[in-house]
């Protein structure tokens, strides 16, 4: 992961980080989606682990999780997705994103071991703030798995060092107070926030929450080291399904086209900044 961000910095452009829900709408389709992401222009993949009670997510990601669970997705199968993807792609960093309970029930030590075996590079666990670092963050870091922390507008300068202390890989800046899928905030405010975080860390800062179009990606990418897109991809999947909620011929190509557009936006963003 560090290498990927260093390469992109040398290239002079921000990373496109794409989130999708593991197992949505079914295992095989989501594997096909995952495999399509790098060639469409995704630099880092966030693989969503479905949870029945996603408290920080909006309706789109909650529904995606419900579709995945209904189709039989489990944490074990989400790790299997990563393993199958890794067989063909050794380079694209994979970050697992979700909530703590399925990991806790799976068993923390067993989870870390199996995640490493599956080729996972990092973890984002929404409901584990720094106060809970003993649970998973410290054991994961000790085994060489990155632990990526969310920083938010409520994380003030006094608290930032605590949030950054055990963070590795990159910092995920949540661009607004709210849930995933909300409206895009003012890019100029986001730029200031990114600078504020950068004053405290040398890690790359990626920005998410509210990025839906290539124009958004371009605007946010002007100041951030990476742009995270999630809800827009999940919505693209949802809109391609048939009445029974099954995938169609449009599901994977739809995601690919969307990501290709976003990638173009990201690639244009430093030009935009220079203009």
């Amino acid at each position: 992961m560090d290498k990927r961000f260093a390469d992109l910095a040398a290239e002079g452009r921000p990373a496109l980080v794409t989130y999708f829900m593991g197992g949505d709408p079914d295992f095989e389709t989501s594997l096909a989606i995952m495999k399509s992401l790098p060639s469409a222009g995704s630099d880092v993949i966030e693989l969503g682990m479905p949870f029945s009670d996603p408290m920080a997510d909006g309706p789109a990601i909650q529904l995606a999780g419900q579709r995945a669970l209904k189709a039989g997705q489990t944490l074990e199968k989400t790790l299997e997705l990563a393993r199958r993807f890794r067989a063909d792609d050794k380079d694209t960093p994979i970050v697992l994103m979700g909530y703590y309970n399925p990991i806790y029930v799976y068993g923390v030590d067993r989870f870390i071991e199996n995640a490493l075996e599956a080729g996972i590079d990092g973890l984002i666990v929404v409901d584990l703030p720094p106060e809970m670092d003993d649970e998973l963050c410290l054991p994961a870091l000790a085994k060489g798995l990155n632990f990526i922390r969310l920083a938010t507008p409520t994380t003030d300068d006094k608290r930032l060092p605590k949030v950054l202390e055990n963070t590795s890989g990159f910092v995920y800046y949540v661009s607004m107070n709210g849930i995933t899928g909300s409206a895009l905030p003012d890019p100029s405010l986001v730029g200031g926030a990114v600078q504020r975080i950068k004053a405290h860390t040398r890690l790359p800062v990626c920005v998410g929450f509210g990025v839906k179009t290539p124009e958004h990606a371009r605007a946010i990418g002007a100041s951030a080291d990476g742009v995270v897109v999630g809800t827009a991809i999940v919505n693209q999947v949802a809109s391609s399904l048939n009445e029974e909620g099954h995938s169609t011929g449009a599901t994977v190509p739809g995601v690919e086209a969307l990501v290709r557009g976003l990638a173009a936006g990201v690639r244009g963003s430093r030009l935009a900044a220079a203009e």
Partner: protein
Amino acid sequence: MNQTPKLNSFRSGPDEDGRFGIFGGRFVAETLMPLILDLQDEWNKAKTDPAFQAELADLGTHYIGRPSPLYFAERLTAELGGAKIYFKREELNHTGSHKINNCIGQILLAKRMGKTRIIAETGAGQHGVASATVAARFGLPCVVYMGATDVERQAPNVFRMKLLGAEVKPVTAGSGTLKDAMNEALRDWVTNVDSTYYLIGTAAGPHPYPELVREFQSVIGKEAREQILEAEGRLPDLVVAAVGGGSNAIGIFHPFLDDETVKMVGVEAGGKGLDGDEHCASITAGSPGVLHGNRTYLLQDRDGQIKEGHSISAGLDYPGIGPEHSWLSDVGRVEYVPIMDHEALEAFRMLTRLEGIIPALEPSHAIAEVIKRAPKMGKDEIILMNLSGRGDKDIFTVGNILGMGL
């Protein structure tokens, strides 16, 4: 870190990280973390501030109607032929349940923190009504999240909340019950962090909620302890309370926890039986997990996905339980048992006819356990039970089940 409370007391938890043994904690998104730390600071100041305590006590007396009576259930005692049965009459409080004790305390905290908007979740609607009540009393706007399923089956309470000026938002996400209402309240809070106070209704959630809700509800046990000493000259042999999230139970248990001679039983909703999924017995039939900000016993599958509970009583219809109860169960201080829907219903009818008290379906579970235990105890023994709410809200549910359409 992670130190367990002092071994010579069951009353010193939680530790500074909000833990009761392995349970409790602060499992929340980063956006909420600074708010929770603010709340903790304010709570630490308030609990030792004489002015705060005086205002709380004054509202307790003049607004809630405290102290609630301790009542000797003479006819129920005679009918069962064993231990003497006393009820702590929390159903006589303003708004009809123990919920108001906590709401008054928390809205005073919200005022201290300068918050201008109240949000709450509710299942049966009792906490929603109590929240809407204190919001009206203090002139703050209030939004209550309620599962769409519950909005339908608790229409009278929905109307009460609206009369009191609250906005009731039906939640259709997930399964449309209490846990989904709590998810939605958390989403609101994460979006409106500056203005909003989240008034949690039970002794669960991230630290410091389990502690502060317990402290506001402990007035029940403190009063009951004095009242039983005055009435009988000694402590009870057994204390019984129903447990959903567990706020009325921890409220009556906590002041007795270090009295070695006092046994305690928490009664969970056994629903239609523990064999299938149609129950809410988190401790008896669940396993430890992390949900809604704390580690506690949960109803969940092998993959850590939360299950839907079932209970005849909407107030017990929650797949988790307060973390202090999980700890009290693990250390063996309190015993937790299930009572089935039909047993609670039978107890509801028995109390109504014998004592002229229509209990809520939640404490009807506790009554059912008392009915089981009292005959096996001596006539010189004493049971204290928390009659936590009145049954007016449940007459439609009971009427439907008994085939007496209203």
